[in-house]
């Protein structure tokens, strides 16, 4: 019986070891590194346009790195394009949720946008997402939740098997069983939330100052309302060059895809 447990443990741990080694380094690392260096030099000189262009090249080349998004967002923010800065800070935080500096800069960009708009229009509010799942799982990355789910799953079923067939009872078995069960549930819900199961579509940020929301995917369709730059929402449908945006306040309508940016890196509008 003991041998069977050892085999089971070995079967579980072996792939985790392979996962811990991480992906192979990218083949084009050196050229990407040069672009990154050039972008950093431009940003340090205050040439935000050049910095934005170079960081964007990295993103277009498939780089999904929180530091690159952070720098891109900072370049946008320094250039005064706060909606795009908000989008890229959100992307950086999606990849590295517990990045304190990115969180602080995101709040600073929102505040700067609000002040800018309030100065021009008298008042301003940015619609932010405030779901319970964001509050609970906001500081945890999807991958860490997935690994934690595997470990909690293993621990829970080991405890359950021991409680069911083990001949010797130990005092801590049932508390450990309950704790691992709670951890399993917590991780499963968190992973579902991160994977978008609790949402109607990928998260998005309005990029243009006035994002007009219409009845249909046509520039002549009746206007339902508008979202403002920096407002958060979800893209619930797509039709050609139009997306259907549902804002945090519940307003829903079609708008050109160019006026909306998707936060989640594994989604694209086009």
């Amino acid at each position: 019986m003991r041998r069977a447990w050892y085999i089971a443990l070995a079967l579980f741990v072996a792939p985790l070891g392979a996962f811990a080694q991480g992906p192979a380094p990218a083949a084009s690392r050196s050229s990407l590194g040069e672009i990154f260096e050039a972008a950093n030099v431009a940003a340090s000189r205050g040439d935000h346009a050049a910095a934005i262009s170079d960081y964007s090249k990295l993103v277009e080349a498939g780089v999904q790195d929180p530091d690159v998004y952070f720098n891109l967002a900072t370049a946008f923010a320094e250039a005064g394009d706060y909606p795009r800065a908000i989008l890229d800070y959100e992307r950086a935080l999606t990849l590295r949720p517990n990045d304190g500096k990115a969180t602080k800069n995101l709040r600073a960009a929102e505040k700067a946008l609000e002040e800018q708009r309030a100065e021009a229009e008298g008042e301003a509010t940015i619609q932010r997402s405030s779901s319970i799942s964001d509050a609970i799982y906001g500081s945890l990355s999807e991958n860490s939740l997935a690994v934690a789910l595997l470990l909690a799953n293993l621990l829970f079923f080991l405890c359950l098997a021991w409680a069911s067939v083990g001949r010797r009872r130990v005092r801590w078995l049932y508390p450990l069983l309950i704790a691992s069960g709670i951890a399993l549930l917590f991780c499963a819900i968190g992973l579902g939330a991160k994977a978008g199961l609790l949402r109607n579509g990928p998260r998005a940020v309005a990029l243009d100052d006035h994002v007009v929301l219409r009845e249909g995917p046509d520039p002549r369709a009746q206007v339902r309302g508008e979202a403002r730059g920096g407002d958060r929402g979800e893209v619930v449908a797509r039709d050609g060059d139009f997306v259907k945006l549902r804002t945090v306040s519940g307003l829903e309508g079609w708008t050109p895809a160019s006026g909306v940016g998707l936060i989640d890196p594994d989604h694209s509008i086009h």
Binding site: A4, A8, F12, L16, F19, P23, A26, G33, F36, N40, S44, A51, G62, V63, Q64, D65, D67, V68, F70, N71, A73, T74, A75, A77, A79, G80, Y82, K101, K104, N105, A108, A109, A112, E115, Q116, E119, E142, N143, A146, V147, L149, L150, N153, L154, F156, F157, L158, A161, S164, V165, E215, G216, P217, D218, R220, A221, Q222, W254, P265, D266
Partner: protein
């Protein structure tokens, strides 16, 4: 001491009380309608009342009200006042009454005869006079009921397009026409057909989705109904939504299913209402592109156009207003016209205003453009004709209208071109915010597949529960086998013990019965099948097949044959022989239990 006058008073009061208590109650039952004659759509108050002096009211009913679903109950109120009066002549008088006050809205013209209302007082039944309510046709009926044009034919075709029939209530979406050109108006009307008596204020319609359409809603201010026969069953049809919709692209566009919730079952004061929900079906509209050849900027509809200047002379630098009004049937918000550049005149962006109205099922309106023209050079300035092309879906032909040529003159010195008149759309300067230094190092991580999407994730996730199930199953099977073995062993021991008891009691018949039972049970348990009914030759062959050696098989058969023989010749068996038989049997059974069974 009680005075005689007091005694007399008490006696009189007691007598009065007795007389009053024994008297018949004075009961009046009435039914009134105010007014007695109404039009369809108007409200009428129906009061059913019972008044009883000296009795207890037990019930009041106007049963015929349920007979007429055409009389919609707008409200229902029950009033039960009670009063007491004291008098020397009549003693204590209790007067109570019960009133049901209904506010009804007739939906169908006709004469409604009500049988008398029935009241029950102190177990006796009292009736009112009958009542007749006359309902005249309303204005809507006389005009043909434009709200209910789809149901106005009073009979809906059996195909029942745009609906999923339900015997109690269903939704229907009527789209007219269902094949149009892009930009052509369709009328969308959502009906609720119901046989239920609904509370109008509880009706909560949900709009169907109309993606791909520009929609103009004609608000429904009051919920009106009309009787319509569907598949031979009378329904009341309510209009819940009426819209003019203009498709914005060609192809098949879908109008989503409408939805409605409403309460029914408010006939009685204490009845709990039932919440009913109904969902309709989606309806498809086939949208065709405009016929070719035709002007590329043509809009759908039929329009006239007018243009004028607010003055024909101005100083250079002063503004002249050019106004163009396009008026007609169609969606005026589709109209686009542009003013070509005019030499020596600066033109500001136009102000655009729309006025729309929805009448007789057609959306029409006026779109007005107002340009401010500023002459920067003196002389005569000409506003060229502006064309508006349209496609009239009724005649299936393209048409065109143009504004006349307009002129105005400007006097004075030339004005230098300026851009300061138009409000500058300057963007506020960004606030100087500190976003911290950029990051000089990055892993430049490429797009990685998340852990949850990797192939091994699912298998690792499924492995612990699968292993757990296997462990539970294996343990369960092992336990069951152990339990069965333990049970079989216990029975075996019990049979041997009872054989020993029979031996001590010197009861050969019982002893050999137990011996046979013990051997048979041992074989049954070991082979997993009953062997008691097999002839000895067949049993021997079965034992050999099961892996028993010949010696053991022969010994078992011998012992069974010997025991069978001894059972029927019990008197000739000695106690010593029985003891030896018991020892042999015990030894044989141990050998059987030790031997392995062939699978």
């Amino acid at each position: 001491m009680i005075r005689p006058i007091t005694l007399a008073f008490i006696a009189m009061a007691a007598l009065t009380w007795a007389v009053t208590a024994g008297a018949e109650p004075d009961v009046t039952v009435t039914v009134d309608a105010t007014p007695g004659e109404v039009s369809v759509g108007d409200t009428v108050q129906l009061q059913v009342r019972v008044r009883a002096r000296g009795g207890r009211i037990q019930g009041l009913e106007l049963s015929d009200l349920k007979k007429y679903p055409e009389l919609e109950i707008v409200s229902h109120q029950t009033v039960r006042p009670m009063q007491f009066s004291f008098g020397f002549g009549s003693g204590v008088q209790m007067e109570s009454s019960l009133s049901d006050i209904y506010v009804l809205r007739p939906t169908v013209a006709g004469t409604y005869a009500f049988a008398p209302a029935v009241a029950k007082v102190d177990g006796k039944t009292y009736r009112s006079a009958p009542l007749t309510l006359v309902v005249r046709p309303g204005m809507g009926d006389m005009q043909g009921g434009s709200d209910l044009d789809a149901g106005n034919d009073a009979t809906v075709d059996s195909e029942l397009s745009g609906a999923r029939y339900d015997g109690r209530a269903f939704m229907r979406t009527v789209v007219k026409p269902s094949e149009v050109y892009i930009g052509q108006q369709i009328n969308v009307t959502v009906y609720l057909y119901t046989r239920l008596r609904l509370a109008p204020q509880s009706v909560m319609p949900g709009k169907p989705s109309m993606d791909g359409f520009w929609v103009h809603d004609d608000p429904i201010t009051s919920l009106q109904s009309q009787m319509v026969t569907v598949r031979g069953t009378p329904f009341r049809a309510y209009v819940l939504q009426r819209s003019a919709a203009f498709p914005q692209r060609s192809g098949e566009l879908t109008i989503g299913p409408p939805k409605v919730t409403f309460d029914v079952g408010i006939g009685g004061f204490f009845d709990a209402p039932e919440r009913v929900e109904r969902v309709g079906v989606p309806v498809t509209v086939n949208v065709k592109p405009l016929p070719q050849p035709g002007p590329p900027d043509a809009v759908v509809g039929k329009y006239t156009i007018e243009a004028w200047l607010d003055r024909t002379a101005a100083h250079t630098g002063d503004a002249v207003t050019l106004r163009i009004d396009a008026k007609g049937v169609g969606n005026v918000q589709d109209l686009r016209i542009g003013l070509p550049p005019i030499a020596g005149v600066r033109t500001l962006q136009p102000a655009i205003r729309d006025q729309q109205q929805f009448q007789n099922g057609k959306l029409s309106g006026t779109r007005s453009w107002e340009w401010i023209l500023i002459a920067e050079a003196p002389g005569k300035h000409t506003v060229p004709p502006i064309d508006l092309h349209f496609f009239d879906p009724e005649t299936q032909e393209y048409g065109s209208v143009s504004t006349p040529t307009l002129t105005f003159t400007s006097n004075g010195a030339a004005v230098a071109p300026s851009s300061a008149i138009e409000p500058a759309n300057t963007r506020p300067k960004p606030r100087i915010a500190t976003f911290g230094p950029i990051r000089m190092y990055s892993a430049l991580t490429r797009d990685e597949t998340p852990v949850r999407e990797r192939g091994w994730f699912f298998w690792l996730l499924a492995f612990p529960p699968a292993l757990f199930i296997l462990i539970i199953l294996g343990t369960s099977i092992a336990r069951r086998r152990e339990q069965r073995s333990a049970t079989a062993g216990a029975i075996q021991r019990q049979l041997i013990r009872s054989a020993a008891d029979a031996l001590r009691a010197n009861d050969p018949r019982s002893f050999y019965d137990r011996i046979v039972a013990s051997i048979t049970h041992a074989l049954d348990s070991h082979l997993g099948e009953p062997v008691g009914g097999l002839p000895h030759a067949a049993l021997r062959a079965r034992l050999v097949d099961a892996g028993f050696d010949d010696d053991l098989a022969q010994r078992l058969i011998n012992e069974l044959e010997g025991a069978d023989f001894a059972r029927f010749a019990a008197s000739g068996v000695s106690k010593d022989e029985m003891e030896r038989c018991l020892q042999r049997t015990t030894a044989i059974i141990e050998r059987v239990q030790r031997s392995r069974r062939n699978v």
